[in-house]
Amino acid sequence: MYLYPVWVRLWHVLNAILVIILIITGISMQYTDRENSIFIMGFARAVKWHNVTAMILTFSYVLFVAGNILSGNGKYYRIERKNFFSDLVKQLRYYAWGMFKGEKHPFPATTERKFNPLQKVTYVLTMYVALPLVIISGLGLMFPETTINKIFGTSGLLLTDILHITMGFLISVFVIIHLYTCTLGARTFSLFRGIITGYHDPDEQ
């Protein structure tokens, strides 16, 4: 079953590479110190790579949103209000219990519904909440003169930084969980193969 068109796959691989570089450089900056002890990579190099990668990510994000609007791919992210919580519980129960008991996937991927309810929620939160926030706050840190000086007596730069770090952290958590859940196909690497070839085996999950 052909699920992932070429542009989605190209964007996905670019996005994956960029996010991984941003996480690595972000952690390097977070754990640096005055003596420039190297944690993964040196501070100056981490800053340079982080900034360049972030600008490319911003550009690729704009393309992603435009692509979703123009190609109709955005419909797969629409969350249905009906049975919202019960569907989430159903999917969670499957991961925590059902899959070990040999139960069938409650929401198998089809050309009409690429993502299960849990995927939809996490993808929407990541791509339409966390990513815009991390991009906006990142631009605020890259151009600090554009940030508001004080917000209710607290430094605007401080709040921008905390927002950026928090969103970056949540995206890191998402990446870890995303990578793990991608091993939950019929075979450990079949879902990874799917996003490379574009074909998803209907029998999987």
Binding site: M29, Q30, T32, D33, R34, N36, F43, A44, V47, Y95, F100, L141, F143, P144, E145, S155, L157, L158, D161, I162, I165, T166, F169, S172, V173, I176, I177, Y180
Partner: protein, 323 residues
């Protein structure tokens, strides 16, 4: 493309001008203006000519009144002097009483000037200012090498106008402007620089072009944060290092053990805020990315990461045993 490069200069100049204006306003509104020197009347004999750019005197030989311009390095404004550390002095405490005679006797040109240590050196009363250690630091400074060309403490600390700054600072931004203006007085004024150095004129902003967010840095830290070697036993570092040894690593300030805590925030660091932020005292005045990370968020993030890996580990475990 000159305009975009020039805007930090304008910003710096505007900040400098604004802050100086504010300082002057505060001085007029605050205690300083109320300060009345017991030598005010006596000093007025000097200020009447040396207090502004223009002066006049009666030429009794010709029977005329002569108006002339005062040399800029001979001008001390009253408001600056009476706000300075030496405001309680009479002019003749440091200068010869013979200056009371006008025209001043020619031999007064040979008058030796005091330096800081002549009064402050080895004196217990001033021990908290560590003048002797400052002098030792200064002797290792690049500025000391210029002494043969006439450089003295006074080049930076004009005894007629200098006032204690960081130690009494209630507004760090104004303190930064005041302190940086001491450096800029020579390093952004080629005429003043030429008095002391044969170096080619240079553009300070171009030299610091590598510095990200240049205007923000110039507003938020003093030149000496990067250009002076930190000495733990004195409040303000006086050992200006050669430019090759200046701080260039971002992480020297933007890290948990930021050097700013040993320099700009040294005096305040004893009042460390305890609200979960590393180097929290900085937050009273500013925010330094990297130096002000929040320790609670650090801990929470590590716990969440650990939980994620535990859940994944348990899941993998059950996947293996249920295979």
């Amino acid at each position: 493309m000159k305009f975009p490069k020039a805007w930090p200069v304008l910003l710096l100049a505007a900040a400098s001008f604004t802050c100086r204006g504010a300082v002057i306003q505060n001085m007029q509104a605050g205690d300083t203006i109320k300060y009345v020197s017991e030598f005010a009347e006596q000093n007025e004999h000097c200020f009447i000519c040396h207090g502004q750019e223009k002066y006049q005197y009666a030429n009794e030989t010709l029977g005329t009144t002569v108006k002339d311009l005062m040399s800029t390095d001979r001008i001390t404004r009253r408001k600056d002097f009476y706000a300075s550390n030496h405001k309680s002095f009479a002019c003749t405490d440091c200068h010869s009483p013979d200056y009371k005679t006008f025209p001043h006797p020619g031999e007064l040109r040979m008058e030796l000037k005091y330096n800081c240590l002549d009064c402050h050196g080895g004196d217990e009363k001033f021990s908290k200012f560590s003048f002797d250690e400052i002098d030792a630091e200064y002797r290792q400074s690049v500025h000391f090498k210029l002494e043969e060309d006439g450089f003295t403490c006074w080049r930076c600390h004009d005894p007629h106008t200098y006032r204690i700054n960081i130690r009494n600072s209630e507004n760090l931004r104004e303190t930064i402007v005041y302190d940086n203006n001491i450096c800029l007085n020579c390093h952004s004024d080629k005429n003043n620089l030429k008095l002391m150095s044969d170096k080619e004129d240079f553009n300070l902003l171009e030299k610091h072009e590598w510095l990200p967010n240049q205007a923000s840095h110039f507003r938020s830290v003093r030149c000496i944060e990067c250009h002076a070697k930190i000495n733990d036993s004195i409040l303000v570092a006086h050992q200006i290092v050669p430019k090759e040894e200046a701080v260039r690593g971002c992480n020297e300030c933007h890290s948990k053990n930021s050097i700013l805590m040993a320099s700009l925030y040294k005096f305040k660091s004893k009042e460390q805020r305890r609200d979960g932020f590393f180097n929290g005292i900085i937050l009273n005045e500013s925010y330094v990315i990297g130096a002000n990370r929040n320790e609670y968020l650090n801990i929470i993030s590590l716990i969440i990461f650990a939980l994620v890996f535990v859940v994944i580990g348990v899941h993998i475990f059950f996947r293996i045993i249920k295979k």
